[in-house]
Amino acid sequence: MPHKTFFWFFFPSGLAMLLFIGLPIFSSLFQSLHIETQQILIEVETCDPFGCEMEMQVDQDATSKLRDEKPMGKFNGLGTYKDRNHLAFSELGEAWGQKTSFKNFISTLLNLPFYKALLFTLTFCFTVTPFVIVLGFFVALSLNVLSKSIKGPLIFGSILPMIVTPLIGSLVLFWMIDAQGILGASLQFIFDDPNLSLKSSKNLTWMMLIIYGIWHNTPFAFIVFYAGLQTVPQDPVEAAIIDGASRSQRVRFIVLPHLYPVATFIALICLMDNFRVLEPILGFSAEGVAQSLSWMIYQDLRNETQMLFGSAGATSMLTIIGVGILLTPVLLRTWKEFKTER
């Protein structure tokens, strides 16, 4: 296909991606280097029947004038990246200087908002993914041997958790697991503890979110594994049967090696998607004990007094760097494949 034809075919799609995916990244970067104009405070004398006193008030006119002049705020360099809500270099340096033990330093580190969010995001990603792969594999293996006639409806039933949006999925689970819901109440009954509530403890909330993550992501792994199972070559399997291999041996030595690339694909997609975890935190109302990087950005943009573009931009850039690190192995692999293909 000539360059010119290619260009016109690809132009609309490319333009959309460039404008709404490429540019926003630069826009975020630009925002992260600026900081919002602070409110201008003036001293006014307010009098009431009990006397007059001086108090500080927001000068609305001057503030809005300044904001109109410089909507972006003033240039702040890497200041936002270094502040307490992001990388917090000075706080960390201080904590390192004053530390009594290494453990002490770690606990200070994990009390800083950014590192707290990073820890949750990574824990969520790397706990959910292995469970999803193992569970998805077993569901696929079990469904594969059932008779064709009932497979269709069963597959539909199995993929329901994936179809619904995370917010709805987490709400549906939350309403059951809530202290007044069916599961929550049953757990209280089983453990004979009327005050038991999954919301009350940090560990239990994290566990609940991770269980939700597994529930939501397993169908995807299951479907991909299921499709992979259809392509397992039958000849080696038959040969193995003749040689007297048991079912578990066949799965281990023939099916698993065949599905290895499929498993890496699932792991990759799972990591990528779970890195952006946000809706479950809102659905489970777990903001108090579990914050993710995406949640930090969401919170900055939802700020009631003023949208914190600078802060949101900085967190976004740091998140993108994180995604980049996660993605590097795949990009390297694709590059190698491309090299060998040519």
Binding site: I25, F156, R247, D300, S316
Partner: protein, 293 residues
């Protein structure tokens, strides 16, 4: 030979069956429970005393006189203006699906038929774009959109969702187009068709399965999106998912938590029906990427 390969022991079959039942219970029961509970009053669905109330509807009978009540649905759709959100979702979903299929088929066709090296780089760029968390993009949109005064309206959101959807659509359709033999359009070109005519009259007619799959994914993305719609639309233009979130935020204290339950069911039901209808396409779409890798 098939029969011999697929002969399994009795224990294995039993284990399989139990495992599948266990998994189905986990995946389906929450939805059944919510569906059932949405026809009860709050005191039953979130029963403090005994969750059997949710099944028998003790308080529902006391409060409304019947075992089932449509109160939550009626109130959330009319008083809560959920009908508006449903209408917005319909507009957004239909537009996003149509536009992204149009752009996606053109782009993916070009990518699959060009032999130059830049196609590889475009596909890699699309992969990187696919990995971007949506919220980081949204944080980049807000400020320019405010300045341009295009924040809060449906068309902006539609275009943004189309763009966010493009990388995946391109990859999916690219792998589908690759399976259509090149000779087909080459012969059309020799007969004097232009590339666009070959695309329109020769390739598209055999591409319907791929297009339906890609369309289904666009539909799910647009229908399910929360991050973009919640932050780029104003309250009036909310689609269903951010509307449900808004119900949670305000209604909890207002006392009518059941609105959210009813609207969750209203939002989920159409999606389940669509997926049930197109299930085969969905599965083929999910697997094309994986089997290649």
């Amino acid at each position: 030979m098939e029969s011999k390969v697929n002969k399994y022991s009795y224990q294995l079959k039993l284990f399989n069956t139990l495992f599948i039942i266990f998994w189905l219970l986990i995946s389906i029961f929450p939805f059944v429970w919510t569906f059932w509970g949405s026809f009860k009053v709050k005191a039953d669905f979130f029963s403090r005393s005994d969750w059997w109330n949710a099944i028998y509807g003790l308080n529902t009978i006391i409060e409304t006189g019947g075992r089932y009540t449509f109160e939550a649905y009626i109130n959330s759709w009319i008083e809560g203006e959920f009908w508006r959100a449903a209408r917005n979702t319909l507009i957004v979903t239909v537009s996003v699906t149509t536009i992204s299929l149009f752009l996606g088929t053109l782009g993916a066709y070009a990518l699959s038929r060009s032999t130059y090296k830049y196609t590889f780089w475009i596909l890699i760029a699309a992969l990187v774009f696919r990995a971007m968390p949506h919220i980081t993009l949204v944080s980049g949109y807000l400020f320019p959109f405010f300045q341009l005064k295009i924040w809060g309206i449906l068309p902006t959101t539609i275009i943004v969702l189309v763009a966010i959807n493009q990388p995946f659509t391109l990859w999916l359709l690219y792998s589908f187009f690759k399976t259509v033999p090149k000779e087909l359009d080459e012969s059309a070109l020799i007969d004097g068709c232009s590339y666009f005519q070959a695309f329109r009259h020769i390739i598209m007619p055999v591409m319907w399965p791929g297009v339906i799959t890609a369309g289904l994914f666009s539909l799910m993305l647009a229908y399910n999106d929360f991050t973009v719609t919640a932050l780029l639309l104003n309250q009036q233009n909310y689609t269903m998912v951010p509307k449900i979130n808004a119900f949670l935020g305000t209604v909890e204290h207002g006392g009518n938590y059941m609105w959210a339950v009813a609207s969750v069911v209203s939002a989920t039901a159409p999606l389940f029906m669509i997926v049930m209808f197109f299930q085969r396409n969905l599965i083929s779409g999910l697997t094309t990427g994986a089997i290649k890798g």
